[in-house]
């Protein structure tokens, strides 16, 4: 296996981007990651992105966004209709094959022009579930209800997760929901949106983008003072049909963590892509995280959820902390699909 590291990151996230196109969002971010390590697009071996045309309401919108990358001379490029974290996985594989030594990875989403909660219904079974148009919050609430009624988690535990996210998000430049003084009682007093989920249980919807550069071996060491080495990365998928799964569990998350070697050594912190407090509660168990582990120092996806980029942002947050010397070993997680159907775990280390 080749040693591959995250050597540069950039992100931007706000509650809603108005007057800015996806191209205009990504131009400064892509330039920022390349400029940070003195590379131009001609130095990049492979470019891979994650986004969704359903958010843009425009077919092949991701091709349009290539305007932000610069493709003269022609570039080697790919795209996944998934979170940018899964684009990072493809780029990592590309580097492993030896076909590239560097990769530019980005993910972005601007969900504010449409109704995200309805759009996400279209990722469900198209014959039996999607025609009923359950909102994303309603589907997640089925999972949360099972979690609470089975006694695995209590309402207080979920409220504590919401409070922790908002407190950690204070001072985080990319968070869109933060509070230094919110309490568990405050959260429990909120009227439910999709019972039992309250507003603070639901990730704060955001528009934004994230870009990272990967590099292999000594090249990475030359580009960055402290590269964040990808020591393990794996993604697994559970069945699509919600009815055939035990929704209080996420076997794919557990399998990905084992395959990525998350438990092989002590972790300093974890960045989780849980879209609901109930999902974060499931993830902490499935990823087998210690009770006292620092979880989501950035506030996590709960504090700002840019659909199609929030997972890549978890990897970027973890890598940036490691490069800054604020930790030596971290777990970054990304999810896709309803109720934690697909899960990616990336273990990052500093040298």
């Amino acid at each position: 296996m080749r040693d591959v590291a995250v050597v540069a990151t950039a992100q931007h996230q706000v509650a809603a981007l108005t007057g800015t196109t996806e191209v205009q969002l990504m131009v400064p971010l892509l330039n920022a990651v390349r400029d940070a390590i003195g590379l131009t697009q001609a130095d990049i071996g492979f470019t891979c992105s994650g986004s969704s045309d359903f958010l843009a309401g425009q077919a092949f919108s991701f091709v349009h966004t290539l305007d932000a990358v610069g493709s003269v001379p022609p570039i080697s490029e790919s795209h996944v209709e998934m979170d940018g974290a899964f684009a990072l996985y493809e780029a990592w594989v590309k580097i492993q094959t030896g076909a590239a030594d560097t990769a530019l990875v980005y993910g972005y989403g601007k969900s504010s022009p449409g109704s995200l909660r309805d759009i996400l219904a279209l990722q469900l079974d198209p014959y039996h579930v999607a025609p009923l148009w359950p909102t994303a919050d309603a589907v997640a609430a089925l999972q949360a209800r099972l979690l609470l009624e089975s006694g695995v988690s209590g309402a207080g535990e979920l409220a504590e997760i919401a409070v922790r996210s908002m407190r950690h998000a204070v001072g985080s430049p990319h968070a869109v929901r933060s509070s230094a003084d919110v309490t568990v009682a405050d959260v429990l007093a909120e009227a439910p949106v999709a019972d039992p989920l309250r507003p603070s249980d639901i990730a704060a919807e955001a528009d934004g983008g994230c870009a990272v550069v990967l590099a292999a071996g000594d090249l990475a060491r030359g580009l960055c003072e402290r590269p964040a080495w990808i020591r393990g990365i794996d993604h697994r998928i559970d069945a699509h049909g919600l009815g055939v799964r035990d929704l209080t569990r996420s076997p794919s998350a557990a399998a990905a963590a084992v395959r990525a070697g998350a438990g092989d050594d002590r972790l300093d912190f974890a960045e989780l892509h849980g879209l609901y407090t109930s999902q974060e509660a499931i993830l902490v168990r499935e990823l087998d995280l210690d009770d006292d582990l620092l979880v989501n120092p950035s506030g996590g996806a709960l504090a700002g959820n840019t659909t199609m980029a929030a997972g890549l942002m978890r990897i970027a947050e973890a890598a940036a902390r490691i490069s800054a010397g604020e930790g030596d070993r971290a777990l970054a997680h990304a999810t896709s699909g309803p109720c934690l159907q697909q899960n990616l775990v990336c273990v990052l280390e500093g040298e």
């Binding site: 108005t18 196109t21 131009v27 330039n31 843009a56 493709s71 003269v72 001379p73 449409g114």
Partner: protein, 203 residues
């Protein structure tokens, strides 16, 4: 065009069912209508471009890398991924870079009788072409290099849309030589020269 009320041929023949499903009505099709609504932001570059049409102006953006002018402006030089912000007002004249004779009607344009000419119009001062209709001459007379000018809607009917230009008509000026017409006159640039200049010396 396929009739949405007629099932596909694969479903219109006899269906052989397993024994447990005998005597039940076969499902021949399922309809699941999807409708999503968006409030799309054109973005600052496209918005300025569209608003200019209402004032009978055509605007592009100049690349900060090599001065190449793009129309329509997208707020970015797509070759280098660099932001563009300098607005350039363009002439209402140019030449045909390429064209095709179209035999299909455009929905909502009952005034446009096929066959008509769709053309890649290269405005004087612009590095690249954009799409327009050519009229005011026989279709057979349209040719690559032909000089054209914009024919606008009456002032009272102008709006923030490229439809404010009805079509492009011949100016009668001498043609741009074929070998210098359209994108032939423009080098997209490369890693060394970054050369996007025009060679034909337009006004």
């Amino acid at each position: 065009m396929s009739d949405p009320d007629v099932p596909p041929s694969a479903l219109s023949g006899d269906v052989t069912l397993p024994a447990v499903l005998r005597d039940v009505e076969p499902v021949r099709s399922v309809r699941t209508p999807i409708r999503l609504e968006y409030s799309v932001t054109a973005g600052s570059a496209a918005e300025a471009y569209l608003r200019a049409y209402a004032e009978k102006r055509i605007v592009g953006h100049r690349s900060p890398v090599d001065g190449a002018v793009f129309i329509p402006p997208r707020g970015v030089d797509p070759r280098y991924g660099q932001e563009t912000a300098e607005e350039v007002e363009l002439a209402h004249t140019g030449h045909v870079g390429s064209f095709c004779v179209t035999h299909l009607p455009i929905p909502g344009r009952s005034d446009l009788v096929p066959p008509y000419v769709s053309a890649w119009i290269h405005l004087d001062g612009s590095a690249i072409g954009f799409l327009g209709l050519v009229a005011g001459c026989a279709n057979e007379d349209v040719r690559i290099g032909m000089r054209v000018r914009a024919v606008w809607k009456p002032d009272g009917e102008l709006g923030p849309t490229s439809e404010s230009i009805l079509h492009w008509e011949p100016t009668g000026e001498p043609d741009v030589p074929f070998e210098r017409a359209g994108n032939r006159a423009w080098r997209a640039g490369g890693p060394d020269g970054r050369d996007g200049r025009q060679e034909r010396g337009d006004a």
